[in-house]
Symmetry: D2
Subunit: 371 residues, 4 copies
């Protein structure tokens, strides 16, 4: 414990126990009350100490498990065949980090999951396969590698693989733990099992995905992005363009935020997402901020130092940075760029006015690796 | 369990266990992963089932304990002498209901608590005493009975009682559990112990508390209300005026929201507050909604039926309604009105797009009392 | 012409005419075109030079004319019996200053004007009388001295005097010239002649006029203030409170803006209003800004220096400050305060990003009086 | 005059003159006042009757004049060599339509106009040439055919043609008449003549022109779009995509609005712009709305019926639709699409709450051609 964080100071609770107090505490318990000073230092810490820990999951291992699961259970039994990431510091919440859930889902050609809707916001990052699609609010969205797709809070959605497709695998990200913790989690199954498709295939990403242009007679009044899919080719192209025009960010290299083109805000109410490019050999400086981040390696290999611990990563690995933990990234390939997709709970953190950020100033901006 | 909420349907997880699966689950654990279908129905319930329970705390009892605490511990030891409400369903969070903390604080004449700041938003509802004041961001605010006072997220604040005052008691409301749960809780002590007072006493409620008028050269760019104090006399007068002009709300009688006059929004980023008046003999209809509410009886007596259970209340009692629990209120005095102050986490719920509301339609809108 | 505003510099148009050019200009005219350099310096001046001039109208004179008009024409013939202010610099627009229209209206007991609606926003400042009322969107609003009342863009409204009332007189302010200039002026007569009154008398100012409180079940989604009337007693009380708590503004003394309590914005889309108090003997410093202002002396006497010219004023006189003209105010009564009501086109100016402001720095902040 | 618009009804001014009144009017004039009923019906018409008239300018003719002007005057004399469009109904304002100015500008290789800034917002639509560029706020933007470029209110800008370029011609659109009419027109010349270029060439359209993506560390807090240039190839591609995915609009075919990607709003505070595509042989239905529109034929040929009059157009012709005038468009080429660029004052109209729209319902939605 840092000296500056001692609780033995005026202004913190430092009551010594005694018999009278013990009996007072017992009495309070009978009335479902307590003495604030007994819990104050614990419930109001000097700074955040997230229970979630920094962690890394190898795609090689998880992929093997997902493929196994396809043989072990049917979609009719399991609804969704997903191997989810269970942060060792937050096992009780089935969370990947903080209040974010994530897992890897697999489907076989010809399968289609029943349509459902829930209070949680959901997103997908596509890894591999052929013929995969998602249907969101009656719009069919074909999925390709490294595409980013959203299925917002309260919207009917289902996924499937064409009969002539291939086993398809993607990462799911949802704020299931948050919706449950906020006592606001609702779940519904579509009365007809599957949604009718009412629009041309892929319409919304085309209609809303033009640079600096919006359709005039296609009004959108929902609190999430109408794009639904952010295709990889245009995203990568945007990063390469940004690389040429700016120096980027010392903590994150060349980084862009996926936005709602209607208002420039986050793609959904409770979760945001970024794609960043680390230039050949780039090693960013460390910083920390409130909010939890789940990373997915979209391209390349390297390592990140998170809370003083080094995590090596390669394509499609997943790793997490809990709130207020120092982190920095390194692309170990000196010749080619590496790309990290990430999603987060920053929209929630920002709306609550809980966002804070700090640069690591010692040691040239780089953490000492302790593990 | 309602039939409509059976998990034995297509679209919910209903995998029967077997040996192969058990061994698969064991294997997953080794890699800090799990099978979604093992936890899905639990983490994505059909509708919210808040762990917090409806509860009522008698002021008579709590007051006795607060007065006792004044003799048992000094402010130098305890920082704040508060008896807090500990919801039997959420003991681990030190929460009153949901992610809201609340307690009753007492101070003696001549005492002044050291100035501090924290990530949680805080509010006070004043119960009794004389000479009490709070200092918020260098503005001194004198406190009177039934006044509503805010000390927003991140702002220096301290409280005290004048030398010639009397023992003073108020209710505190904070979202301490939320700030901690979001891994965003910071706590600081003022470097000088107490804040200098830089403004005329009571300036802000005067400057910003005029009806339909704002000062031109007193710019406010902070994400919370500049009024800081909402005095009881003007609030009660507003309710009486509203009573004459409208029929009110079938669920809440004559009800007003405390606002930020700069933008008409909630008083703070994460907590809102209301004052409502139940006309003589009024019995409202039941409804339920997401979001947690803490009530404080500002005037009169009556009862509320919450989740089918009847809770009688009188002045300065506190009771709580968890998220998505049916509730209705009754003023048992047929001749005089009753007033309920309440605070809530609705700003957070609304920003997340988690708000839902439902009217109780059976039995003429009134719950059957089961306890 | 100031030297810094010479047009004989590179970057301004300074083409000398010649025969070839003259013939070119003639040719262009045949095709409804012209050469920009022929008009550029005129249409893009170095800084605004409003055609409207500073002006003052004595209430004594105008009142006499209004009373005369009551005998000269009937409301059935004239619709509204108003003597309007015609700025000598803007006679063609029937404007008081800039694009703002204003006049003094009189009505006799028992009269009621037919209900109408128009694209212009309208406001009233009440001068004298008894039993006057306005009906705005089916809400009846009784009028008292120095009350400020709005009848927004597109809303049905009519005015009348009770049978047992007295001759009543008020100032009207509208942006009729603006609505016409923007080719957006519509005018309608109510199909039934008069609006039915559907609400308790005076409901809206009561429902929405509480400090820091808004009704929960009385939703307002219109682009103007729901208060409709801002009563004088509470406005004056607010100014006296502000006087105690702040030093005020060096250009305007103690000044407040009438607001829409729903969002803190201007009362209407295209016109705003202020009330300001000049302390006994106070002489403000001069400044200038874009936007036009119409002043009405609500209380006291004094003078203003506008564009170097001195205008003395007393109760209910009206005077105007055109855009970008220096102005300062002086309360000549050393013992009592003076109050100036004013309305303006600042909402329009601000939304267009046309607002600019400048302090007069020479001569201790006071203009030399040239007339 | 339509019967429904007769002024001989209760509620309109219909005072017959007489001797007493004439003398009253004379008296009022002496005090710079007037009787409202003398002007009321004129200043508050039943509906807009814009002084501007529908008009069409052939590029062939204007181009010839622009080329002539290049020989007749130097940039040093004229500052900008522009042939501007002078609406026959608004000659006094040097306006193209309503409060919008427009003209065709030409420059020779090696020329560079001195940098200036003004209160008016400006935009360009590029017609022909090679090596043209604009410098806006220290960012250099190369210009190509059918590119749309903005130089917002208050920003330094200058234009030039590379030494090895060709004569370049573009259309300018500004709201010079509006800024002047609002008494808010300021004009400045850059103290150094030309702006230094501080950024990579073409940086902003690249940085902000990605679909559904915004840079994280390139903050933009200005009230206009950071894209500055909207290139033709991507705009046309967007229209072709929209054509495949929607049926378009019955009044405007396939139409998109140029937006500020930061917030989805208009590109500038006072002027907006659209690009629309008329499918082979498409003839849209007629409607009318408040707000003035300047059209530029970006591709193809056809005609528009405006206020019952037929105007044929081909590439780079300009035509205008005044406020509240019926209009419909027809692409006369049955095999290829036609594209119309247009700019307007709708941001201003919308902010003032002056927007109204009406469909032409008779005759199958098509006007009878009267001229």
């Amino acid at each position: 414990m840092d000296d500056k964080f001692s609780d033995e100071v005026l202004g913190r609770a430092r009551v010594k126990n005694n018999e009278k107090l013990a009996s007072f505490y017992d009495d309070l318990k009978n009335y479902s009350t307590g003495a604030l000073w007994e819990v104050a230092n614990d419930i109001e810490p000097w700074e955040p100490a997230a229970p979630s820990v920094p962690y890394h999951w190898s795609y090689e291992v998880t992929r093997k498990h997902v493929v196994q699961s396809i043989d072990l259970v049917t979609p009719e039994e399991a609804a969704r065949r997903v191997v989810y990431f269970s942060n060792p510091g937050a096992l009780d919440k089935s969370a990947c980090v903080g209040w974010l859930y994530s897992g890897i889902q697999g489907m076989k050609p010809g399968e289609r999951a029943p349509a459902h809707a829930h209070s949680s916001s959901a997103l997908r990052f596509i890894i591999e396969g052929k013929g995969a699609y998602t249907v969101v609010d009656h719009h069919k969205v074909p999925l390709g590698g490294n595409d980013f797709v959203i299925t917002p809070n309260g919207v009917w959605h289902d996924h499937g693989i064409a009969e002539d497709g291939e086993i398809s695998i993607w990462q799911d990200g949802l704020d299931i733990p948050l919706a449950k913790a906020m006592d606001a989690s609702f779940y519904s199954l579509h009365p007809e099992g599957y949604q009718p498709i009412d629009f041309p295939i892929g319409d919304l990403p085309t209609i809303y995905g033009a640079p600096g242009l919006l359709p005039v007679n296609h009004n959108w009044d929902k609190p999430y992005s109408p794009m639904f899919k952010y295709p990889w080719d245009k995203t990568y192209e945007a990063l390469k363009g940004l690389e040429q025009m700016t120096d980027g960010c010392e903590f994150d290299g060349i980084i862009m935020r996926y936005t709602n083109p209607i208002n420039g805000g986050h793609v959904m109410s409770t979760m945001g997402a970024h794609m960043q490019l680390l230039r050949g050999g780039e090693h960013t400086k460390a910083h920390r901020h409130t909010g939890s981040i789940v990373y997915h390696v979209a391209k390349g290999q390297g390592y990140s130092v998170i809370g003083g611990k080094k995590f090596e990563w390669k394509e499609h690995d997943v790793f997490v940075v809990p709130s207020w933990v120092w982190h920095e990234h390194c692309n170990t390939n000196s010749k080619d760029d590496a790309c990290l997709f990430s999603f987060n709970d920053l929209p929630t953190i920002e709306k609550m006015n809980f966002y804070r950020e700090e640069a690591y100033t010692e040691n040239g901006g780089h953490q000492e690796i302790v593990a």
